[in-house]
């Protein structure tokens, strides 16, 4: 969750002295999170949350490291990581668009929004070939008063029509590679 931190950590820029420093820091923060929970196996979900916030997604190497630190079999860590919808084992695109498919949004026409994104960007769960946009759906974001809603990079877009979404997609696709540079400087 907390897509704001997510957007900051999503794309680690290619190795430069600066990004190296950030990466080291992330390792340290993950370590701190595990030690705060006394490396207890029952803190696995909390630790995976932190790991995903820091690194953007859970790579096999990351999962193996968490398993060994928490003294858990890797199979158990993988089992938990794949059980919950929140954890992503694949890197995400520059931007993430999440369409809420809760009942209120569904009745309000969210399916048309999913179709629009699938048509313009990528299938649900996938990232567009240019790495720009990851398309996801959510069960219910609890903002039913704003239905149908789309979350773009952590920001809720309320009462979206397919045409408005079109315009938003145009804007993202037109934007140059600004986002990764931003996140690297954070």
């Amino acid at each position: 969750m907390t897509p704001s931190t997510d957007s900051g950590s999503r794309k680690a820029a290619p190795a430069s002295p600066k990004s190296k420093a950030i990466r080291d820091n992330r390792e340290k923060m993950l370590e701190r999170s595990m030690s705060r929970h006394a490396y207890a196996g029952n803190a696995l979900i909390e630790v995976l949350h932190t790991a995903q916030e820091l690194f953007g997604f859970l790579s096999p190497a990351l999962l193996r490291r968490v398993a060994s630190k928490l003294h858990l079999p890797p199979s158990r860590v993988l089992a938990v990581a794949t059980f919950y919808n929140f954890f992503s084992l694949k890197p995400k695109g520059e931007h993430t668009a999440v369409v809420c498919l809760g009942t209120a949004c569904y009745v309000g026409g969210a399916v048309d929004l999913v179709q629009k994104l699938e048509h313009r960007c990528a299938k649900v769960g996938a990232t567009s070939p240019d790495g720009k946009v990851t398309v996801q759906v959510a069960r219910c974001i609890g903002s039913c008063g704003l239905a149908p809603a789309v979350i773009l990079d952590g920001q809720i877009l309320p009462r979206v029509t397919p045409d408005q979404l079109d315009a938003v997609i145009d804007r993202i696709l037109a934007s140059p590679e600004a986002a990764p540079a931003d996140s690297a400087s954070q």
Partner: protein
């Protein structure tokens, strides 16, 4: 903090408030925040700085009328203002009426006497529009932690329990199990380590009551949990919050820090021998974790798969210890029950369903938002009178309660009183309180398919009836939608529904057929009309929902 200090703090805060001219409260719940209420709040604060006026500006919990956000409440006359821009909001500050013309402000004004506000009775949401969820002083001023202080100084755990029993409170998570019975079961256990767990994994799509309570009044939930801990003999609590609710987590974390700093929670609760602390566990997106044994597995860091019961959690729960699990709204009801007495609470509601219930009303409705009414209020009052009915003169077709575990209630039954028994007799359930309104453009076959798809995706896969049954039921519903199904498929659908209900391991599978069964019960003709070989099926234009398939 001792109980005396708590009272002193309250009196001090009250004295400070009495010198203020007015209090402007801007809704900072998730709905209004995404309509820009943060800018409105800043604009109000800036405007106050430019005047001599002694005016307090705060954020506050969900004011309910989410469709009119961002909302501001003015305490002096109780008026609400909706859809304000930051510029026009600033004119609400006394002495700054020059900022916009009077006409503009009047257009945004919503009287507290409008049915939306006047017909509600607020207990759980009483502090929305009164307190700032981020300030413990505000909660203390609103008699917060008074019940906890009363319990640890004047009452034995048994007395707390008997007050809850007198109130007749039943679990607000959906099933309606008597709260006091559950507490008693845990209190009876001899184990020295017991746990209190707050189920804040509000997974029903279309329900956002618990979210609003957590975001708008986090201290109330903590106080309710501490009272439960006192009554049941537990000193550790966990709140399991949905991962999607980042703001709720943030506010809870802040509230816990404040309560620990003031020594209201911790080793000596309000200077007594009772110890209680609360930790947050953040879920990771699994609907099944709303089921109590799955939730416990998830807190333990495992896959959220339910297990067979008995033993029930009051005997063997978290880490194998006796565990009391209640829903957010249930805990939120506890402090006023202890403060004002169980008899007061049981005077509200119907004979078997006491108190109030919070509903999240959404869908094809004029006023989307949060509504709290006494149990026994009719659905028609909620949907038509309070929430203004279907917009644009459309025709109301059905109201869905209970999300994917509930069912549709047709327009003809809207005079049904809202209580646990009436709703389950009508083939739905109270559920956690989501109400989705459908108009005559909505296809009930499509809605049934939608909920079955939800259950199919969210089935954890542990037991076969649920894992395979939801897939088969979804398959049939999808074929009906595509007009490829035959009459025998409907029979199979009904058979599968019974099978899932009777043989699934947990509530998810047992209740998954409910939306289908209720749609078949009240809207059978919509299914029949789509079957192959039915004379009506030919030459019927296809509905919008089908074209999407």
């Amino acid at each position: 903090m001792t109980p005396e200090e708590l009272h002193q703090r309250r009196d001090k805060e009250r004295a400070k408030r009495s010198t203020e001219e007015d209090h402007l409260l801007c809704c900072t719940a998730a709905g209004c925040l995404s309509c820009g209420s943060e800018d409105v709040l800043h604009s109000l604060r800036d405007a106050v700085k430019t005047t001599e006026a002694n005016v307090r500006v705060s954020g506050t919990g969900c004011l309910g009328l989410c469709s009119k956000g961002p909302l501001v409440k003015r305490e002096s006359d109780g008026a609400f203002f909706g859809g304000l821009s930051p510029e026009s909001a600033a004119a609400l500050v006394p002495g700054r009426a020059d900022l916009v013309d009077r006409q503009t402000l009047a257009e945004h004004r919503i009287e507290p006497t409008t049915p939306f506000f006047a017909l509600q009775q607020r207990i759980v949401l009483e502090n929305a529009g009164r307190t700032d969820p981020e300030r413990i002083e505000d909660y203390i001023l609103a008699d917060g932690y008074e019940a906890l202080s009363k319990a640890v100084t004047e009452m034995t755990p048994e007395e707390v329990l008997s007050e809850v029993k007198k109130s007749g409170l039943r679990g607000r998570g959906g099933a309606g199990y008597p709260t006091a019975l559950k507490w008693e079961l845990v209190a009876k256990q001899a184990a020295t380590t017991k746990y209190i767990v707050c189920n804040a994994d509000e997974g029903d799509p279309g329900a956002f009551m618990d979210r609003s309570v957590l975001e708008g009044d986090p201290h109330r939930v903590l106080e309710g949990m501490a009272l439960a801990g006192y009554a049941a003999g537990a000193s550790q609590g966990y709140i399991y919050v949905r991962g999607e609710y980042a703001l709720a987590v943030q506010r809870l974390e802040k509230a816990i820090r404040q309560a620990e700093r003031e020594r209201i929670l911790g080793n000596r609760v309000l200077d007594s021998a009772f110890a209680f602390q609360v930790d947050i566990r953040v879920g990771a997106g699994a609907f099944v974790c709303g089921e109590e044994t799955a939730l416990l597995a998830s807190i333990e860091g495992r896959r959220g798969e339910p297990r067979t019961r008995p033993p029930y959690p009051p005997e063997r729960g978290l880490f194998g210890k006796p565990t009391l699990i209640n829903n957010v709204e249930t805990f939120a009801n506890i402090p006023p029950i202890i403060r004002k007495g169980g008899d007061w609470f049981s005077s509200i509601g119907t004979e078997r369903s006491k108190g109030t219930k919070v509903f999240a009303v959404a869908g094809k409705i004029v006023h989307t938002g949060l509504v709290e009414v006494p149990m026994g209020t009719s659905l028609r009052t909620i949907v038509q009178d309070i929430c203004g009915g279907v917009p644009g003169g459309g025709k109301l077709k059905a109201v869905l309660t209970g999300g994917p575990s509930g069912g549709a209630i047709p327009e003809s039954l809207l005079d049904l009183p809202v209580d646990y028994e009436s709703l389950s007799k009508a083939g739905s359930m109270m559920g956690s309180g989501g109400l989705i309104v459908m108009d005559d453009e909505t296809s009930m076959v499509d809605v049934a398919r939608y909920f079955m798809e939800f259950c199919m995706d969210e089935s954890c896969g542990k037991c076969i009836p649920c894992r395979a049954g939801t897939v088969q039921m979804h398959d049939i519903l999808a074929r009906i939608s595509r007009r490829e199904a035959e009459p025998s498929d409907l029979e199979m659908l009904a058979k599968l529904a019974t099978l899932l209900k009777e043989t699934s391991l947990c509530g998810l599978g047992q209740t998954a057929p409910n939306p289908v069964v209720s749609a078949l019960r009240y809207f059978r003709e919509e299914f029949d009309e789509k079957l192959v070989k039915h004379p009506l099926a030919e030459n019927t234009s296809r509905t919008a929902s089908e074209r999407r398939e």
